[in-house]
C-alpha cells in the first residue's frame, strides 16, 4: 500500500472526528447551558413575605420562623440517641422509621427528620446540635396571625400544585403561593422576589463550591407590606356578633369605597391553617357541608335582596317620572296581580313614597313599578331601562373588587325572561316580584353594601376595595379611586333618603335608633325555599338590613344578611345598628341589646331542614 493511502486514511479519520464535534458542539440542543447542566444547581433564597396591616396600622399578619430538623444519613456518626430523642420529643420507633425513610430517599442528600419544630424545642436543640453529626436545622418562615378574625379576607398561603407550576414559571414545587383572599390577590406584591445562588456539584450531587464565584447570583428582595382598609376592631366585633349565625356583613366607607369590615359567618381562626395541624383543620372545615365555614358568604352568597331593593325601585320610578314623591297608592293590605291578591304587612292605607318606604309597603312599590312599565311603549323597552338603572348601582355583575373570588348576583335581563316565558309573552305582572326585591333578582351582601353607599353618596360609588396602601408605591390602582356614577339624578335621592331615615324614626326600624346619630336604612325580610327530599319547602325568612350613617355626612354604609333570621330588624337590623354605633362612637351604649346579639344563636333554626321532622317557620319565639 502506498503512503498516500495511509495519509488518506488518517485525514478521513480526522475529518470524521471534526464532523462529529460539529454535530455535538455546534448543534447542541439545550438552549440554556446553565439551567440544563446537571453539575450546576440553582438554589433559591427566600425573602420574607410582606406584612399586612389594618387601616389604623395594627399588624394583622406577620411571619414566624419555623424549624425543620434535617438529616443527611451518610454523615450521621454514632450518637446518644436517648438524649437526641428527648430533645426532639420523638419516640424510638418513629426515629428508626424516619431514618430508614431518609436513607431510602438518599444517603447523600438531606431529608426532613422533624418538621416545624417549635421555638422552645429549637432553642434547647440548638445548643447541643453540634454534637450530633449529620443533623442540621433548616429555617423557614410561616405566617403568623395577630388576629383571630378576617380569615376570609386575608386568605391563606399553601404549597403550589402542579397547575400553579405549569401556569407560572416563577414557582417550583415546594414553594408557597397565596391561595385565597388578599394573599392571592396581592401575591406578587407580598411574595417579594426570591434570590438565586448557583452552586457547583459533583456527580454525587454534593456541593463543591459556588458557580463562577457567585457572579450570577442575586439577593432576595423582601415582599412589600400592605395596609388594608379593614378596621380590625370593627371586624373582630362583627365576627363576635355573628356568633352562631350564618350570613354576611359588609361595611363600606361611602366616600372612598374602602371596605371597613367584611364578615362571613361562620368563620374560622386563620392560624388554624398554619403549621403542623393545617391539613387536618382544613379537611374538617372543607367537609362541614352544612355550615360551610370556608365559604365566604359576604361575597359569594346571592340571596334575593328583599325590601332594601324598594329604595332602588323608587329611585328608578322617580328618575323616569313614573311617580313623584307625592304620588299616592292605596294599600288594601295587599295588591292584585292578574286578579290574584298578594299580601302586604304594612297594615294598609294610603301610601306615598315616604310612608311606603317606612312601612315597607309592598302594594305601593308594586303599583309604582307597574306605572313605570306603563310609561313605555313595550315591556321590553321598559325592562331594558330598568335593567340599565339597576346595573349602574353595581348589581347584576361582578363589582371588580380586589378579591380573587366573587359572585355577580343577578339583575334579570329581557333575554332572561324571553327564555323563560317566550318572546313578547310576558308583561310587567310577570316580573312584579322584582319591585319588592323578591323573585329573580339576587345580590351579594357586598353588592347591597355598595348599593347603600351609592345612595349615601347620592348617585355615585367607588368600587369597593380592600387595599389602602402598598408600602413603597405611590397610590393604589386608579379603578379604586375613580367615581362610578349611577344613572339616577342627584335630586331624586333626597326623598328616598328621607324615607329611609323615616324607617328609623317611625318605621320598621324605629326600635333600632342609635342615640345621637341620624341613620337611614331599610329592612328586608326575604322569603326563601329549599328542597327537602325533592319537595319545595319554605324556610324561615332571611333577615336583611342595609343602613348608612350619619345621614348628613355618611361615614359608614352597611349591609347585613342573616340566613333564616326572620324579619329584617330582628337580627340584621340589630347587628347593623350595633356595628354602626361601634364604628362611629367606639363604644356601645345599648348593653342589653349587645349582650342579646352576642349570645343569641340560630342553631335551632339551622337544624330544622335536616331534622327530618315537620317544623314551623317564622316563629316569633326567640
Amino acid at each position: 500500500m502506498s503512503r498516500f493511502f495511509y495519509s488518506l486514511v488518517i485525514i478521513i479519520v480526522g475529518l470524521l472526528f471534526i464532523g462529529k464535534l460539529v454535530s455535538l458542539q455546534l448543534f447542541y440542543e439545550e438552549s440554556n447551558i446553565v439551567e440544563s447542566d446537571p453539575a450546576i444547581t440553582k438554589n433559591y433564597l427566600y425573602p420574607e413575605r410582606g406584612f399586612i396591616y389594618d387601616r389604623n396600622g395594627n399588624l394583622l399578619v406577620g411571619n414566624q420562623p419555623a424549624y425543620d430538623v434535617m438529616v443527611t444519613p451518610r454523615e450521621v456518626a454514632s450518637l446518644d440517641t436517648l438524649e437526641f430523642l428527648k430533645l426532639l420529643d420523638l419516640e424510638k420507633e418513629e426515629f428508626i422509621d424516619k431514618m430508614a425513610r431518609a436513607r431510602r430517599y438518599s444517603t447523600r442528600l438531606p431529608s426532613v427528620l422533624v418538621a416545624n419544630l417549635s421555638k422552645e424545642s429549637y432553642a434547647a436543640l440548638q445548643e447541643k446540635l453540634r454534637r450530633f453529626q449529620g443533623f442540621f436545622i433548616r429555617k423557614k418562615s410561616l405566617r403568623d396571625y395577630y388576629t383571630t378574625s378576617a380569615a376570609h379576607v386575608l386568605g391563606y398561603i399553601s404549597e403550589v400544585n402542579a397547575d400553579d407550576v405549569r401556569r407560572n414559571d416563577y414557582y417550583i414545587p415546594g414553594e408557597n403561593i397565596g391561595r385565597t383572599g388578599l394573599e392571592r390577590q396581592y401575591e406578587q406584591v407580598l411574595r417579594g422576589k426570591k434570590g438565586v445562588s448557583y452552586v457547583q456539584k459533583d456527580r454525587f450531587n454534593r456541593v463543591i463550591g459556588p458557580y463562577k464565584e457567585g457572579s450570577l447570583d442575586s439577593l432576595p428582595e423582601m415582599g412589600k407590606n400592605i395596609h388594608i382598609t379593614i378596621d380590625k376592631t370593627l371586624q373582630e366585633y362583627g365576627e363576635r356578633l355573628m356568633n352562631g349565625k350564618r350570613g354576611g356583613i359588609v361595611a363600606i366607607e361611602p366616600k372612598t369605597g374602602e371596605i371597613l369590615s367584611m364578615i362571613s359567618g361562620p368563620t374560622y381562626d386563620p392560624s388554624l391553617l398554619v403549621g403542623r395541624e393545617r391539613s387536618a383543620n382544613y379537611t374538617a372545615m372543607y367537609y362541614d357541608s352544612l355550615s360551610r365555614p370556608t365559604w365566604d358568604r359576604s361575597i359569594l352568597a346571592q340571596p334575593s335582596p328583599g325590601s332594601p331593593f324598594k329604595a332602588l325601585n323608587a329611585l328608578v320610578a322617580l328618575q323616569e317620572g313614573a311617580i313623584n314623591p307625592r304620588t299616592i297608592y292605596t294599600c288594601d293590605e295587599g295588591f292584585y296581580v292578574a286578579g290574584v291578591k298578594r299580601g302586604c304587612h304594612c297594615g294598609g292605607g294610603v301610601r306615598d313614597l315616604n310612608s311606603g318606604l317606612l312601612h315597607s309597603c309592598n302594594a305601593y312599590f308594586a303599583e309604582s313599578f307597574r306605572s313605570f312599565y306603563r310609561k313605555f311603549e313595550t315591556t321590553t323597552e321598559a325592562h331594558d331601562t330598568w335593567e340599565a338603572h339597576m346595573k349602574s348601582f353595581g348589581l347584576g355583575n361582578f363589582l371588580g373588587t380586589d378579591l380573587p373570588t366573587g359572585a355577580p348576583g343577578r339583575i334579570p335581563s329581557t333575554e332572561f325572561y324571553d327564555r323563560a316565558y317566550g318572546r313578547n309573552r310576558w308583561v310587567s305582572t310577570f316580573v312584579i316580584s322584582n319591585a319588592i326585591g323578591q323573585g329573580e333578582v339576587a345580590a351579594t351582601p357586598l353588592q347591597l353594601a355598595n348599593m347603600t353607599a351609592a345612595i349615601a353618596n347620592r348617585g355615585h360609588f367607588i368600587t369597593p376595595h380592600l387595599i389602602k396602601e402598598v408600602e413603597g408605591e405611590n397610590s393604589i390602582d386608579y379603578k379604586f379611586r375613580e367615581k362610578r356614577y349611577t344613572t339616577i339624578d342627584e335630586k331624586h335621592f333626597d326623598p328616598v333618603i328621607k324615607g329611609m331615615e323615616a324607617v328609623y324614626t317611625s318605621g320598621t326600624a324605629r326600635f333600632l335608633q342609635v342615640p345621637g346619630i341620624r341613620l337611614a336604612g331599610k329592612t328586608g325580610t326575604v322569603e326563601n325555599y329549599t328542597r327537602i327530599d325533592g319537595e319545595k319547602v319554605q324556610l324561615t325568612d332571611h333577615s336583611v338590613f342595609v343602613a348608612f350613617a350619619p345621614v348628613e355626612d355618611p361615614k359608614i354604609a352597611i349591609a347585613v344578611y342573616i340566613e333564616h333570621g326572620y324579619y329584617g330588624n330582628r337580627y340584621a337590623g340589630h347587628i347593623a345598628s350595633l356595628m354602626i354605633e361601634k364604628y362611629l362612637k367606639g363604644e356601645i351604649t345599648r348593653v342589653d341589646l349587645e349582650k342579646r346579639m352576642l349570645e343569641k344563636t340560630l342553631a335551632k333554626e339551622y337544624a330544622k331542614p335536616t331534622s327530618k321532622k315537620p317544623f314551623e317557620i317564622n316563629e316569633y319565639a326567640w
Partner: protein
C-alpha cells in the same frame, strides 16, 4: 559548524506539535484533577498533575540522555530488547500489581511501571529490525508467519492481563506489514470477517448471507484479470466467511460475556427491549453519554480553563485518563478540540513523510511502526469518547494521565526523530 549539531537537524515541526500536545494535555490533566484548591505547588507528587509534570520533565531528561546514544545501538540490540520486554510481560504474572482488575503494573515505590507501554515501542523496533533484513521477503509465508508471531506473542500476553486495548495496539502494526509488502488480501480477509460478524448481528443471518453472496458474485464479475490470488485463498475465503456468518450467533451468545454483548448492542443499536436498553445506557453507556454531554456543552469556545462544570463535578468517569478528551471539549470548546485533532493528524502525516524520506529500511519501518501505534491510539480513543466506537480502554497519547505512557511515547517519537536527524550522517557510517 552550526548545522552539524543534532538540535538543528531535528525536525522542529514534529517537535513543535509534540510539545503542543504534551503541554495542552498536561493543562487538561491539571484541570480534571486539581479540585477546588488551586494554591498547591504544581510539582506536588501527591497529585495526578504533579506526577504527570514530573514524568514530563523525566521524559525530557531521558530524551536528552538518549541524544548521546548512537542510533546503531538501538538497532543492534532491538532483539535483546524484545526478549527483555517479553520477560517483563511474563514477570507480571508473578510480580504484577493489579489496578482496576488488570495486572499490568510493577510496583516501584511511589510509581507504577506499565511494561506494555514500553513493549509497544520495542515491538515496533523488533519488527523494523526483522523486516529490514535484506533476506526477509513478506511474499514468503514463513517470513509472514515469523513477522506475525512477533506481534501476536506480546498481544497474547497483554490479553491475559487482561488489557485488550494494548493488544489492539500490537495488531495495529499489521499496517506496517501491509506497507512492507504483505499481500493486501489478508487485510480484506480480516476486515470482511469483522464486517460479516457485525452485519450478521445487525441484519440477521438470512440477509447477510444473501448480501454476501451477491457481493462475492459481483466481485468475481468485476475482478480485474491481472489480479492474481492463490487458489487456496479463492477456495478457503468464501468457506471461512460463511462459517463466520453461520457461527456469529453462537459466538455472540456463548463465547462473549454479557459486558461484551452490551457494548456491541449499544454500538450497533441492537437492543429492542426498552428497559434493558435503558439499563445498558445507564451502566455501559453512562461514560459515553456523560462524555458526549460534556463535550457538547462546550459549544464553540468552551466554558474556559477550570470552568468546566462537568469536569469539576467529576461527572465523566476516567476523565483524567481515557476520557480526557471530554474535558478538552467542555472547557476549550469546538475550536480547540478541532485544533487538537488537526495537530494529531498533522503529526501523523509528518511522521509518514519523515518515514518515507529515510534511507535505511530499519528507520523507515520503525517510522511507520510508531505512526501506526499513535494512529490506533488516537483513532480508537477519540472515536470512543465521541461515541463512534464501542468502549475500548486505550489512552490518548500525550493527554491521558499515565507516567509510563507519556515517557515511552516521548521516547518512541524521539528515537524516530533522532534517526531522521541523522539520516544523512548514517549514510557515511
Amino acid at each position: 559548524m552550526r548545522g552539524n549539531l543534532l538540535i538543528f537537524r531535528l525536525d522542529w515541526i514534529s517537535i513543535f506539535l509534540l510539545l503542543f500536545l504534551i503541554s495542552f494535555g498536561w493543562v487538561n490533566i491539571y484541570s480534571t484533577t486539581v479540585g477546588n484548591d488551586l494554591s498547591g505547588p504544581l510539582l506536588d507528587l501527591g497529585t495526578f498533575y504533579g506526577k504527570q509534570l514530573f514524568f514530563a520533565i523525566l521524559s525530557l531528561i531521558i530524551v536528552i540522555l538518549y541524544s548521546f546514544i548512537p542510533d546503531q545501538f538501538i538497532e543492534r540490540f532491538s532483539s535483546v530488547f524484545y526478549l527483555i520486554g517479553i520477560a517483563l510481560l511474563l514477570g507480571l504474572f508473578v510480580f504484577g500489581k493489579t489496578i482496576a482488575g488488570a495486572t499490568s503494573w510493577y510496583d516501584l515505590g511511589p510509581f507504577n511501571f506499565q511494561p506494555s507501554e514500553l513493549m509497544k515501542m520495542i515491538v515496533a523496533l523488533a519488527l523494523a529490525k526483522y523486516l529490514s533484513d535484506t533476506q526477509v521477503n513478506l511474499r514468503y509465508s514463513a517470513h509472514q508467519g515469523y513477522a506475525v508471531l512477533l506481534l501476536v506473542l506480546p498481544s497474547i500476553l497483554v490479553i491475559a492481563q487482561p488489557d485488550p486495548g494494548s493488544a489492539l495496539v500490537f495488531f495495529s502494526l499489521f499496517l506496517v506489514l501491509f506497507r512492507e509488502g504483505l499481500p493486501l488480501y489478508y487485510l480484506t480477509f480480516v476486515l470482511s470477517f469483522i464486517l460479516a460478524f457485525a452485519a450478521t448481528l445487525k441484519f440477521g443471518l438470512t440477509y447477510t448471507f444473501i448480501g454476501t453472496i451477491a457481493l462475492y458474485l459481483s466481485y468475481l464479475w468485476v475482478k480485474p484479470k491481472q489480479l492474481k490470488t492463490p487458489t487456496w485463498f479463492n477456495i478457503s475465503y468464501p468457506v471461512i466467511l460463511f462459517a463466520v456468518i453461520a457461527s456469529t450467533t453462537w459466538v455472540y451468545n456463548s463465547v462473549f460475556k454479557q459486558h461484551h454483548r452490551d457494548r456491541f448492542s449499544l454500538w450497533l443499536n441492537l437492543e429492542t427491549n426498552q428497559d434493558r436498553l435503558l439499563d445498558i445506557k445507564q451502566s455501559i453507556g453512562y461514560n459515553t453519554y456523560q462524555a458526549k454531554q460534556a463535550i457538547a456543552s462546550g459549544r464553540w469556545s468552551g466554558k474556559g480553563f477550570l470552568e468546566g462544570t462537568r469536569t469539576k463535578g467529576d461527572f465523566v468517569p476516567a476523565q483524567h485518563s481515557d476520557y480526557i478528551f471530554s474535558s478538552v471539549g467542555e472547557e476549550w470548546g469546538f475550536i480547540s478540540s478541532a485544533i487538537v485533532i488537526l495537530a494529531f493528524v498533522a503529526l501523523l502525516l509528518r511522521f509518514i513523510y519523515l518515514a518515507d524520506r529515510q534511507k535505511k529500511a530499519f528507520h523507515r519501518i520503525y517510522g511507520y511502526g510508531i505512526t501506526s501505534i499513535l494512529f490506533i491510539h488516537f483513532g480508537i480513543n477519540i472515536g470512543m469518547v465521541l461515541g463512534m466506537l464501542p468502549t475500548i480502554g486505550i489512552p490518548l497519547p500525550f493527554f491521558s494521565y499515565g507516567g509510563s505512557s507519556l515517557l515511552f511515547f516521548c521516547l518512541m517519537c524521539y528515537i524516530f526523530l533522532k534517526m531522521d536527524a541523522n539520516r544523512l550522517k548514517t549514510h557515511f557510517d
